[in-house]
Amino acid sequence: MESGQDRISSTIETVVTRFRTMVYSIGVRRGLLDADLDEVVQEVRIRLWRAGKAGKELDELGSSYVYHVATTAALDLLRRRRAYGAEQTEDVEERSELPAEVPSPHEDVEARELAAQIDAAVEKLATERRVAVRMHLSGYDRDDIARALGWSEGKTRNLLYRGLDDVRRRLAAMGISPRRAS
């Protein structure tokens, strides 16, 4: 028969695994790193374990409780890093993603120049359009932008598309076009 501790461990693993999978699929396009998420997930695991030991029925905890625990854990982690300068340490996980093959120096310079030209065009936009475009280029979708800025769906779409149009026009005026395979 499963002991109380085994049951708590098994419940926590189920909750944490489901949570990690969902959160990772949301965050990866926006720059979320495995290492950051792992740290938070580990902290969530510890906090759930403590809650379980204190008599909380883990089976009955809703997803909002897990999100609350994870948000608090993430805030604590980020505050700690800033206080102790831990963010300056090199992330091993990041290094493991380094490509085995890299573009030629010439291609690399060209790509970076193009990215800088896009950034310069974005920089010239009015604040509202600039923020919407920067969030979009960083991987956030329209719902995220609308919620963060308290805008309606229509206003978000309008500002984002006009902002992107402005950027495209500025790039076209400079004679900059995408390289497309023939």
Partner: protein
């Protein structure tokens, strides 16, 4: 004639800029609490604009923001709001149709049937893109990789995207089909992620899950 960038090309071309952003915080960086409040839409709009504008130009803030957004249930809640909105829209025409039935009797039946059919079609559009192959975490050598997914009702075209771990786009291609042989020979080797986005006929976008793709 200069061809303009499409959305995917613009994102891909901006990728190197994201990788170049500084990775440590400066004195002007917003606090973690301010970042969380901003991404959750709390506080004055002018303050949120300023915080997000600063955060998007700093690699360390961008990383913090991504973590806070993901673990606080950012997109999940947005999707739930969208689903609730859709749910209301779906039942509104039905309620209207029921009123018509009461008022004009049999003449309303046809109209009700038409609306029900429209609603069924709209419901099909809410489905996410469901991937078939390659399997999650599969590895591939040289040559093209064939990606397959299920069709989505109402999709005008699909965009396959292969992303690096930092979210920058390594390969992208659009198609109206549900199969695409992608020449990934020039893509850097490593563990990447891939997904398919469907551009819908109502202007919205549906996304698939994200799968891991190994290139050897």
């Amino acid at each position: 004639l200069t061809q303009p960038f499409d959305d995917t090309e613009l994102r891909a071309a901006y990728g190197p800029r994201l990788r170049e952003l500084r990775t440590t915080h400066g004195p002007e960086c917003p606090s973690p609490d301010a970042l969380l409040a901003a991404i959750q839409g709390e506080g004055a709009e002018s303050v949120r604009l300023q915080i997000l504008d600063t955060a998007m130009q700093c690699g360390a803030c961008r990383r913090d923001l991504a973590l806070l957004h993901a673990v606080s249930g950012g997109s999940t809640r947005a999707a739930q709001v969208a689903a609730r909105r859709f749910g209301w829209q779906r039942f509104a025409p039905l309620a209207a149709a029921a009123s018509i039935l009461l008022l004009v009797g049999l003449f309303g039946v046809n109209q009700w049937r038409q609306r029900t059919q429209e609603n069924t079609m709209r419901a099909a559009n809410t489905r996410e893109v469901s991937l078939i192959s390659p399997a999650n975490a599969s590895s591939h050598g040289e040559g093209s990789v064939t990606f397959v997914w299920h069709p989505v009702a109402g999709a005008l075209r699909y965009t396959l995207e292969v992303d690096a771990a930092d979210g920058s786009v390594l390969f992208s291609a659009a198609t109206t089909d549900t199969i695409l042989a992608a020449p990934l020979d020039n893509v850097i080797r490593g563990a990447h992620r891939w997904m398919v986005r469907a551009q819908m006929d109502d202007g919205s976008e549906r996304r698939s899950e994200i799968r891991v793709l190994g290139l050897k």
